[in-house]
Symmetry: D2
Subunit: 306 residues, 4 copies
């Protein structure tokens, strides 16, 4: 039976995502994203399930940066998980008694309106994950009165829901990805996404436009672009891209090759089925058979000009 690492402890949204993506897998909880990815890298787990971005908070920078550096991992699946927050406390606690709340920073941000309205004087302390916060509250003698986290975490740690669905927006979604060490890629499904990281060539102004042109010339839409600092100073960035299509498709392959040529470096992060199942619109001249015909034509004219 295969084992997958995830951001633990039990009761996190990551665990929920893992249960959906791989119901039969053994689960290895890790204390943070880096640890989960390292477990996959070192072979302690076959892979890992980690959050990549949130519809309210944006990119999960620790995941973005961990995937960009270090030993390569590739994404083989993605999941869009609705995120619902509950206010979790020890049995018997009432809303009016809550003075100190612990939760993950992202959850804090997403529940700001509820906190301002219902608990204007509350003190919020940051935890490593929402499940860790729930766990902390469940400990005897905890200095915290409540945690904000998934209902599942409350169940797990014997807490009650003092309030549920307390997020500022009820439609918040987190995108999780399942990563593994490099190996055979998922087969194209016709509704795929490709992820990659690109590092600008330093001596090359207008480089971002050049990168985007590689996609545009082949009729490929980008579904996400995110800049991250290289660490070498303000103004130095690298880029995470998600684009439509699978690297096995000609237009995607040629665009990635093009990117490889104009960039200082490109890291491939995988081609995998889109969670939303949307098929791209293939623009005239960019279908696989058109690439094949063009290649045959090129061979022919290189042969004898005709």
């Amino acid at each position: 039976m295969r084992k997958l690492a995830y951001l633990g402890p039990e009761g996190t949204f990551s665990e929920e995502a893992l249960r959906i993506l791989a119901p039969d897998a053994e689960r290895l909880p890790c204390s943070n994203v880096a640890a989960a990815l390292d477990a996959a890298r070192r072979g302690e787990a076959e892979g890992a399930v980690v959050p990549l971005e949130n519809s309210l908070e944006g990119g999960i920078t620790s995941t973005l940066d961990e995937l960009a550096w270090g030993q390569p991992l590739i994404i083989v699946a993605e999941l869009l998980l609705p995120v619902k927050f509950s206010l979790l406390a020890r049995p018997g606690t009432e809303l009016g008694q809550i003075k100190r709340v612990i939760t993950h920073q992202a959850a804090h941000t997403q529940c700001r309106a509820f906190l301002a309205r219902e608990l204007p004087d509350v003190h919020v302390i940051a935890a490593a994950s929402t499940a860790a916060a729930a766990q902390e509250v469940s400990l005897p003698g905890s200095p915290y009165d409540a945690a904000i986290g998934a209902a599942i975490a409350g169940e797990h740690y014997g807490l009650i829901e003092v309030a549920s669905d307390i997020g500022d927006r009820s439609d918040t979604v987190t995108r999780f990805v399942q990563v593994t060490r490099p190996g055979p890629l998922p087969k194209p499904t016709g509704a795929d996404r490709t992820s990659l990281v690109a590092y600008l060539a330093e001596d090359h102004s207008g480089a971002l436009l050049d990168m985007l042109s590689q996609f545009a010339t082949r009729g490929i839409n980008l579904t996400r672009i995110e800049s991250r600092p290289t660490g070498d100073g303000i103004g130095q960035y690298f880029f995470h891209f998600d684009c439509e299509g699978h690297v096995f498709e000609s237009r995607v392959g040629e665009a990635l090759s093009g990117l490889h040529r104009v960039c200082a470096d490109v890291r491939f992060l995988g081609s995998y089925a889109r969670a939303d199942g949307l098929s791209p619109q293939i623009r005239r001249g960019t279908a696989d058979h058109e690439f094949a015909e063009a290649a045959e034509w090129l061979d022919r004219i290189r042969g004898d000009g005709a």
Copy 2:
């Protein structure tokens, strides 16, 4: 005497930035970025000094999102502040005794290598700011043994430096901006930057390339691009841009107008002197006098065709 809000309490890097940007200003410490910006919005302060991005951590998302939504504020100055972290503890504390450290999440991330090497078993708790962490450690009966923060915070709260310059990289820099309510813009200096936020028109594919073309066609380099989720679901983003030049310059004005036309909305975040003093290279055909000549020519041909 004017008053500026900042991310407090005393001893934060924001305070340090404020002291450099406006040495004579009265300082109003606020508990978070949103509170500092709101103080400026409501007129409790004339403006605010907040971090915008960090060379290691990337964009400060709370600042980016706060500037994008709510009542407009504009940037009037920027500062690049080297960030040095110290391990701060109550007098008498030795490295070997430190079991529980409190600090801001960003500082934690930036000191990971030091912590892994010197304090492999330490427990790190997140605080609202590095100064708040130092303040916490200084309190009698604090459950924390040390804080990670600026040396200045240590001085302020009576702590000693158990270790200094403990960041993984010694060249980390944070970019701070001074914002005010809309009003007369800073004069162009020849080495300026313009910041703005652009919201894609929903029904418009290839919209990002269209936006970038507005800059490229006028020969304007982008110095930063950052995508942020609109909150309306995965795949829905808006963009922060920094570009070279001042909105009073013709090429910048026309690019911004162009952006206004092709986007659902554009928010202007100010034109101000670059902290690095770099002057842009003005490409042929994009200087102010060339715009003026072209406008005169257009008037002439519209008049009588000649």
Copy 3:
């Protein structure tokens, strides 16, 4: 009563075009395109009607070059004239007797298949115009047996049609333009065309793409692009452009200004109603009201940033 010059003598397609474009005008026949345009330039005529391009032969280079250099003239109207050729001879002539044919070179080219099929051994001599050829044939003692020209020319010079509609293609069309000295432009009709000539900046590679981008960025389709040599050596060209829209429209005005900035020189050749009456599709963000809104917004943010 106004007078218009045209490529004479009487009986040319140019005369036919002039009669349709300006039925009441006095007609001044000239021996070639340059002479007709010069008559307009010198004020001997109020304007001139000249051919600009032919659907089979392409641009009429003498017109293109004459409009690009010398004293400026602007186009105020255009006409698409179907071109039908007849084989014209003195009364009594039969097809089998025709050994020497005189006509304009363009007409010769367009009737090649007929000549090869029906008169394989004929000798074809070039004349300045098809009407001049008909006139020549009509003279007593002419060495030529027949002319190729418009039926109207035959009538005019007392010739018979030995064969009619002898062009290789029955759908050939010539585009004529009416030009005048610079003055008030025709009013926009909603279905207009703008013509211009652009000279590349010499020190600027990728200049053609830059020029085209000026149109593309403002959503303007080009309806014709024609390169012409500057005369300064192989590889040195200037360009004739026709684009959709009227210079009074904002998107066209801004594109022309942009072109003026990136080119060594631009000559405006007029905005006028399209003969085909086709209205352009106005792309999102390029309508006049959107330009006006963007300009107001720019004024506002330049005023106080809001």
Copy 4:
């Protein structure tokens, strides 16, 4: 010994070009460009030498159109030939006696200033070539007093030079190309040119920009672009392109493939050494080894994602 067709009769500039391009070849004079190309197509000659463009007159439309349609031919060499015109007449003729001049239309155009100044009342008749004009003048009983043509034509037909170098510009150059039936291409020299013809996909607006982007994305400069009517009506064009580089180079091959995909049709017209010997500047990311590295990388990531 090989035989090459050319635009005759003896004494044309084409003959001069042929003598330079292939000094040892047998020469087959033809009455026009189409006939010369057909001789090559039918195998009556191994190839043909024809004019492609003139620095004053522009593209030679008969050559452009003949190469675009019919059985394919490819260019294997090019030559830039300075063009000098002489006024040629029968021995004993003086300038003042000349009333009727015969020449090719292009020569007429290029000597306009001389004719206006020295022979203001002269009557100019068009001939099929400048050499044919010289031949005509040399015939006993010719109605023409002089021809305009190459000095070599005068020698050939026993005429004297009444005036020499009478062109309006002394630096006029004609570009000749040597074409053959499709076969092995000339080897790349490092300073090559590639010629092709592209037909726009009818249902595809912005198609010209798309075509140019195929070159721009691969860092390839265009050295000539010429639109020609398809014959299907005003506004319907196809395009002749010359670009830097050889089809054996990766960036050129990929650009041509890209063009093949986005166009209704592309006809390859050959890759051959540039007459001017100029080497292109290879832009970062477009050298053959960079294409090879990118292809290897793509194979690798398609294999196992790493």
